[in-house]
Structures are given as C-alpha cells and as structure tokens.
C-alpha cells in the first residue's frame, strides 16, 4: 500500500441478479488531487461511487482507503475514516437550518457522542468553528438560519458539498455537484471544487466537460461498467476510444 494513493480500488464488481453494473473496476486516486470519473449515462459511475463510499456493498473486489481495507465497512464507519460524499440528487435535512445541517455533518465524525440524551448542542458541542468556516466557504452566511428546504437550487447544491466538507474528511466524493444548476451558479461551483482540490482529495463524477477538463488532474472514463481510459484531461480528450464512446460530441468543450 503506497502513501502516494489515498484510495485504491481493485477489481470492484457489482451484480444485480444477472445484470452486471460493474465488471471489475480498478481505481487509484492520488492524494490532494482532483480525480474525475466520466462516462455516458449507465456507465456505472454512480454505482462505483456507492461502492467506494459504502452506500451499497460491493459484490466482489477490494477497496483500501488510507492504507486500511474498508471493503466490508458500512457507510457510517467509512465517514469516521475520512470519507465524505455529496449526492447527485440533493439530499439534505429540509426542515433544519443550514447551520444545523452542517453541525450534524460535523458531529457525524464523532457520531457516538450524539447518543448524549441530556446536553443540547451548545458550547464546544456545537462545532461552531467548523460550521462557520464551511458557511464562509460556501458563501451562505446570509442563509445560515434558513431551512435547507427553502434554499434556491444552486444554494442547495453548494450546501450539499458543504455537508461533505463539515466532516473534515481526507477525501470528498462529489456526485454530479452541478446537476440541474443554472449557468450563473456553475462558475461558483467550479471555483469551489478547484479550491477544495488544494486541501483535500476530490473524487468527482461530472457531466459538465468544461469543469472536468479545467480542474481535474486525472480523468477516468467509464463505459458499460468498466474503465475505458484513464489519464490527464489532455490525453483523455485526444483519445480515439473516448471520442467514439461519446460519439465525438460532448468531450470537445472546455478548452482553456
């Protein structure tokens, strides 16, 4: 297990009955880089994400995170080891405020402390410092007391990323953070993710090629449950097989 790679997945498979969603995927993610996973719809990107973060169990293969085997660990245990994820479909606590959403996410790392039946989350239990830092980073200072369900779509998408940040993770898994976003919000999100890549290891699923090509260090292209190509954004863009997989259309955008 090398220190160079934070995450190493080997031959990960996922079967749903006879249907093979993942047919043996290898993925190695370098520390403090932005590693994007792209591919046409149905390529298995989100399934791979579920395997890596523990939302669903893998049928076969192994996953090592920061030198430890986590293949059989459920999602909440992986969080304690430093994995945090955002969801493709916004998944927040809609009746709770932005602050409370982030506080819960920050506290999740020490989830056992949350069995305290007597203390209310105040003082050093409030994770205030962490929550303030994340709110600042997300630019949601004016909305901190708003219920998450009342935020605009763009704000919800940013809070979605913030939920992952609050856990003070080593790696952040972002599942299509820009999905459904308007053009105005896209640049903010791009800046945010590029910024995260400096402090954390970011694994990104994204359809917006502009963002992927501009901010990724490594790009893995998936097709039909397997890895098709992996390399720098430049080499992936120029790869003939990738052009065929995408029918030559989407991959052309985003040249700097």
């Amino acid at each position: 297990m090398s220190a160079e790679f934070l995450l190493e997945a080997r031959q990960v498979t996922k079967h749903y009955g006879k249907f093979v969603a993942l047919g043996g995927v290898d993925l190695r993610v370098r520390r403090n880089t932005v590693h994007s996973v792209i591919g046409p719809n149905g390529a298995g990107k989100t399934t791979l994400f579920h395997m890596l973060t523990g939302t669903l169990g893998a049928t076969g293969g192994s996953i090592a995170f920061d030198g430890q085997d986590v293949t059989r660990e459920p999602a909440h245990v992986r969080v304690r080891k430093g994995m945090a994820r955002s969801f493709q479909v916004t998944s927040l606590f809609p009746t709770l405020t932005v602050r409370e959403n982030l506080r819960l996410a920050a506290q999740g790392v020490n989830a056992r402390r949350a069995f305290n039946l007597w203390r209310s989350p105040q003082g050093h239990w409030s994770c205030a410092e962490m929550v303030d830092r994340v709110i600042e980073r997300l630019g949601l200072r004016n909305q901190e007391r708003t219920a998450a369900g009342s935020l605009s779509h763009g704000q919800q998408r940013r809070l979605e990323v913030g939920m992952a940040l609050s856990a003070e993770p080593k790696a952040i898994f972002l599942d299509e953070p820009t999905s459904g976003m308007g053009i105005d919000d896209l640049d903010d999100m791009k800046t945010l993710i590029a910024d995260l890549g400096r402090d954390y290891t970011v694994v990104l699923i994204e359809h917006n090629m502009g963002i992927v090509m501009d901010i990724s260090h490594t790009v893995t292209v998936m097709q039909q449950g397997r890895v098709l190509v992996e390399g720098t954004p430049q080499s992936v863009r120029d790869d003939e097989r990738v052009r065929t997989a995408y029918l030559g259309s989407m991959i052309t955008g985003g040249r700097k």
């Binding site: 939302t55 969080v79 809609p94 009746t95 819960l104 209310s120 369900g149």
Partner: protein, 327 residues
C-alpha cells in the same frame, strides 16, 4: 424560548384540570394517556417511525405493576420502575427485529407483534388473568420506611401523584428531544440516507428512541392499572395502540405539548360525547380526515396559528417551517 412555552403549557393544563373537571379519575386518565402519547410522539414526530405496537408496552406495564403489587412485596415506586424497565426491554426486543425494516414493513411488524402479544396475554391466565384481567390491584400510598408520605386513597390524591410523575417525564423528554441525541433523531426523520452518509448508525438511534418510547408507555400502562384497580386484557388489545396513535396525530406530531393536547381532547371528547351520542367515534373519524388532509400539525398547529394570527405575526407563505429554535 419555545422550550419554556411547552413546559408552561403542560404545567398550566396539569394545574387547570382539577379546577375544570369534577372527576379525579378522568383528570388522571388524561395525563396517563398523555404519557403514552409522549412515547408515541417521540417515535412518530421526532424519529419518523409509525408504530402500531404501543399497546404492547402499555399492556405490559399494566400486567407488570399488577403482578408486582399483588404477588410481591415490592414498594409501589419500585414496582413502577420495574414496569418502566420491562417496557424498555420489550421495546428493545421488538425494535431489534423491526427497526431495520423501512416504511410499510416496519409498520406491519409492529402490528404483528401487537397481535402476538395480545394472544400471548390471553393464553397465560396464570400471569395475566386471561379474559378477566388481573384483578384487585391496590393503590398503595407513597411511603418511605413505614412513614406514609402521600396517601393515594381518593382519585384526586392519585391525580396529584400522576401529575408529578407526568411533569417529571415531560421535562425529561423535553431535555431529550432538544439534546444532541434528539436533534440527531430529527435529522434521521428528515433524511435517513443522508444521516447515515454523514456518519450516524441510524438503526441504533432508532432503537434507543424505541426503547425510551416503550419505557414511557409502560409507565402509562402501570399507572392506568393502578387507577382502575385492574389490568384488563383490553389494555393489551390492538385498540390501545390505535388509540394512542390517533391521539398523537390529532394533537400534532413533533411537539410534546401537542401530545398533551391530543390526549386531553380525545379523553374528554370520549367522556362527554359518548354520553350524548354513542356513535361519537364517527365525529372523531371526520376530525382525523380533516387533520390528515389539511391540518397536519394537528390541534397544536391550529392553536399555534391562531396565536400568531392574534398577535399579527401569522404569515401564510410556502416557506418550510424551521424546526424549533436553533442553536
């Protein structure tokens, strides 16, 4: 500050009941069912679990106190504690089996356990008295070292003891629902998948909520048996589960004072309307329909909106209501 309002409402009703009602038993009944509703609300309103099995714990509490007071020399407070512990344990057992199942299947499992408990109670008459119930349960005074501290002979004396217990449980549950644990339950209610993704072992949190709920409900069952002097088979019937759930929904889920309002409304309506019109449950049906269709915060929501309208702060907006005061 809303926390204090809830406690003030509870205290106000507890003090007002003896002034407004002529029957001490009726007043006690209100608080006893309110206790059971608090337990149900912890599940439905705070954790998002719909349990049709609350009658198990209510019935178990009745039987436990009955056995303790008639067959053992256990002092009354300890007999109550025994009921609480057994209620919690039973909820733990039911919970371990049911809690991982989602939605309909969880509901069905609690329903199945409720039916099984009823027939279990029916088939061991040596412990439960079977069809007749456990008879001649005494209502001993509260005493320490042979000195009587509080006599429970009259209905109003008993009410006073129930009132103190109710307020203690109410304040304790208030603390629990505003605690770190309680706030985490709200997160689980809002979005289980996300709660799990940010590090919470969701089934454990649900299980603890279930155990607390079972313990409080068993306490209510025990006090009920002491009040009527019998632990009837009816206390283990599915109807009890249903009644507790209906009171919870009518009052409004997700607020503890609402639970007291729900029990108050149901018990008093049953008492008054049943003498006027034997088919009064039909009216209750209509009310449930109205609440389910357009008034999902229950009577408590109605009172809250009425209060805000009076003080001119009522806003009819599409905004999502923020859950309680935030830290």
């Amino acid at each position: 500050m809303r926390r204090n309002i809830d406690i003030a409402v509870a205290l106000g009703i507890v003090v007002a009941l003896p002034l407004l009602l002529s029957s001490g038993s009726l007043a006690s009944e209100v608080l006893i069912y309110a206790l059971a509703v608090l337990g149900c609300n912890l599940l439905l309103g705070y954790t998002g679990l719909l349990s049709f099995g609350q009658g198990i714990f209510f019935g178990l509490g009745s039987y436990t106190i009955g056995l303790m007071l008639t067959r053992t020399g256990l002092p009354m407070p300890l007999a109550l504690v025994a009921s609480i512990i057994l209620g919690g344990l039973a909820a733990g057992l039911v919970g371990i089996v049911s809690i991982r199942q989602k939605g309909t299947y969880f509901v069905m499992l609690t329903l199945a356990f409720a039916q099984m408990f009823y027939f279990l109670a029916y088939s061991v008459p040596s412990l439960t008295g079977g069809d007749n119930g456990l008879l001649n349960i005494p209502r001993p005074p509260l005493s320490a070292f042979g000195v009587v501290l509080w006599d429970n002979t009259t209905a109003w004396q008993f009410y006073a003891m129930v009132a103190v217990i109710f307020l203690l449980v109410f304040v304790a549950l208030h603390r629990v629902t505003t605690s770190i644990f309680g706030r985490t339950l709200l997160a689980i209610r809002d979005n289980e998948v996300r709660a799990s993704a940010i590090g919470y072992n969701v089934p454990r949190f649900k299980l603890l909520a279930f155990v607390l709920s079972g313990a409080v409900t068993a306490l209510a069952g025990a006090l009920n048996a002491m009040m009527v002097g019998v632990a009837p088979l009816a206390n283990a019937e599915f109807h009890v589960s249903e009644m507790i759930l209906v009171m919870t929904v009518i009052g409004g889920a997700g607020n503890l004072a609402a639970s007291l309002i729900g029990a108050l409304f149901y018990v008093l309506a049953a008492d008054w309307l049943s003498t006027l019109w034997p088919r009064w449950l039909m009216l209750l049906g209509v009310l449930l329909v109205v609440i389910s269709l357009g008034m999902q915060r229950g009577l408590w929501g109605l009172i809250e909106d009425g209060f805000l309208a009076l003080t001119g702060r009522f806003k009819r907006t599409g905004e999502i209501r923020v859950e309680e005061k935030q830290v």
